[in-house]
């Protein structure tokens, strides 16, 4: 495990990242219910922007990538390309039942099995579609993960389980 980060500038950078993460969205072929619920998060009722979270378009400025939808065969390579453009440290949130296992569309001929086949996923948010509160909860869990990773000097402390999915309870330091 790498030595914990201690320099002031590094701590400042980590603090800034967690206080104001920039999110980029990628619709990998969904029915769009999840996308609309994400937009509803930006609206006055749920207002994710009061947390300092901004939804930006370009992957090159993002900290978090939110993937909606099960990945269709057409979108798979594009999703991989977008993910590669995001600078480290990057985090991926897979939305909904589709993100976890292709949801209702599992096994269809133009669909991949899960987002994990294309890019590594950090957080799964359950629901079909997840409610805006659950989405905000997922983003906050991601922020907690970011601070846990920063405290441990990187992502290596999160050992992958035999299922291939890194899993935490949202509390730093707990892995299964």
């Amino acid at each position: 495990m790498a030595a914990p980060v201690s320099s002031l500038s590094q701590r400042l950078v980590n603090w800034a990242r967690q206080r104001s993460p920039w999110i980029t969205l990628f619709n990998s072929g969904a029915c769009n219910a999840c996308d609309i619920e994400i937009i509803a998060c930006l609206m006055p009722r749920f207002d994710i922007e009061r947390f300092g979270i901004l939804v930006k378009g370009s992957p090159r400025h993002a900290d978090i990538l939110i993937v909606t939808g099960h990945v269709t065969l057409k979108q798979a390579s594009r999703l991989r390309r977008v993910w590669e453009q995001i600078p480290e440290p990057k985090y991926v949130i897979a939305m909904g039942a589709c993100g976890a296992s292709a949801g209702a569309f599992h096994g269809l001929y133009h669909v991949m099995d899960t987002v994990e086949q294309v890019i590594p996923v950090d957080i799964y948010v359950a629901g079909c579609p997840p409610r805006p509160d659950e989405i905000i909860n997922g983003v906050v869990a991601c922020l907690n993960l970011m601070s846990a990773d920063a405290a441990h000097g990187g992502k290596e402390w999160r050992q992958k389980t035999s299922a291939g999915i890194p899993h935490t309870d949202g509390a730093p330091g707990v892995t299964r």
Binding site: V71, T72, L73, K74, A76, S77, R80, Y109, H110, M112, D113, Q117, V118
Partner: protein, 159 residues
Amino acid sequence: MKPLLTLDFVAETMKEWGTAEQVRHNRIRITATPETVRTAIINARELLECDRLITISAVDNGKTLELVYHLTGPHRSVISIAIELPRDKPEVPTMSDILPPAGIYERQIHDLLGIVFPGHPDLKRIMLNEDWPLEEYPLRKDWKKDPGTFYGGIPGERI
């Protein structure tokens, strides 16, 4: 609003190109052949006042491929003109010059079922991704995914 079309009127007008039957209070089905279907549609437009195409449905019933053209007009009746095509060489002339919306539906049917529409200006892929192998028509009843072929996605990944 105009009254619905009656079966007798439709049967009489279209008798040269197909046989008509009433399948619902506002829908009349005409069975035509691939040779007569284009003239049937042109005449349905003129004589029956069917100026709108609702959709073109394509079915694989196991033995043949069927196409049904659904038309409607100010009388609000639906005229369905149905034809059957052989599986090995399904071809029917395009309707996209007489009914402009047909262009998109024909492209879709070609992609998924493999029916060819000679005369169509642009019969290229619309529904399947660019890596999908040619000559594989997913909506046919005898099509199954071949584990050895690459259908798109990330090369080398299990899909």
